[in-house]
Amino acid sequence: MNWEFIYRVGIIEAIKGVPVSLYVTFVSLLIALPLGFLCAITRFRRVPVLSELISVAVSFLRGTPLVVQIFIVYAGFPSILNYMVQTFNWNFDAFSINPYVYAFFVFSLNVTATLTEVFRSALSAVGKDQAEAARSVGLNAFQANCHIIIPQALVSAIPNICNEFLNLFKSTSLVYMMTIQDITGKLRIAASAGYNYTEAYIVIFIVYFLLGFGMEKLFQRIENNMKRYKALPQT
């Protein structure tokens, strides 16, 4: 075991990669949260055509491995684009697209797919009586959603959102496949110089564990704070 590699190179490279991993995670999540919510409402309301389209897309995204999706998007798409550029004589370099664009695209779509189902089940978990009571006291559909249905749905969705966030954070370790140097990417490069792969992966393991553990604790606090109305002691 090359200890020197671990604390001289490994840890420093890992820390350099942390902002990149977090950047991809947060941007993808920020795109996916509203998008997933809209898709969930479309599915929940059973909007014709759109609802079915979303359902098919979700099945595709959830049913295929992330690695394959990354290959198709990152390797396949530019080739198709390049073919079109040559055929139609566009003045555009198909291989010049920033890899982050591909990363945001793949990860946000993936998370959107999961969050669609998360939000949909959260919306159906709010009792029917809540909507009826809201209508009966004179709230219109929009007001009922804003004041009663959505706040309650969000609370029951929070544990799953946290789960999905952690999954996303871990999956972003695949962005090195798109030449982005996140935690994993930085360490793989550092390791290749002296073939210190075992040491590199141990560092990656520890860094992800510490960050993941911290996030989990943070989310627990948020969750407990948001669901405070649920299980309070009797006054």
């Binding site: 009792g127 009571a133 006291v137 004041h147 309650q152």
Partner: protein, 247 residues
Amino acid sequence: MISVKNIQKSFGHNHVLKGIDFSLNKGDVVVILGPSGSGKTTILRCINFLERAEQGELTIGDIHVNLKHATSKEIHRIRKRSAFVFQNYALFNNKTALQNVMLSLTVARKVPVPEAAGIAKAALNKVGLSDKYDAYPSQLSGGQQQRVGIARAIAISPDVILFDEPTSALDPELIGEVLGVMKQLAHEGVTMIVVTHEMSFARDVATNVIFMDGGVIVEQGTPQAIFDNPKEDRTKQFLKRILLEEQ
């Protein structure tokens, strides 16, 4: 001043209401009795548009609507003048008692918050919950939750309050506190339509009792007429069974 005419409603092939007519005056307490499945609850739900009737007319004060064709604006006007108390309370779980009562004032009626808070507190005081303003429904007993439900109904000073089996989900020892509040409201002249199995409430508080079975009104009259001198065999049968059970 409140009347319904010829309410018809089916669920699939099940013809639940086969033409219901009745009317009541300001301050009346109408109690609807009948075996399960006779359509009692469906009447109230149709009046509050929680179910769409297939036919029927509703008049509350000067508002006259067709139960089948009412526009959302008309429905909104009816709901502003009537309130519904649910069997399972149906309080907003993410709101405190006070917020539950205030919401229909501040959001649906645009009453300014300080004024709405005043009205809501008065309503909660009236049902004996002056110490529970900030309690969430999960912190309240069934009886307390139902009293918040009643406060939510009286806060909008409706022309009529519809009670859908308000005590059916309660433990026997909690029924009294809810019935007590309802009796008090009746004495204050609040107009109510009550679906219940509480015979003593019907006998003591109702101004008018309706007995229904199989989607039609079998008999209606004063409590004395219905309880002491029922004309229809079906009513006699029902009362005999219920009163026997109560003894």
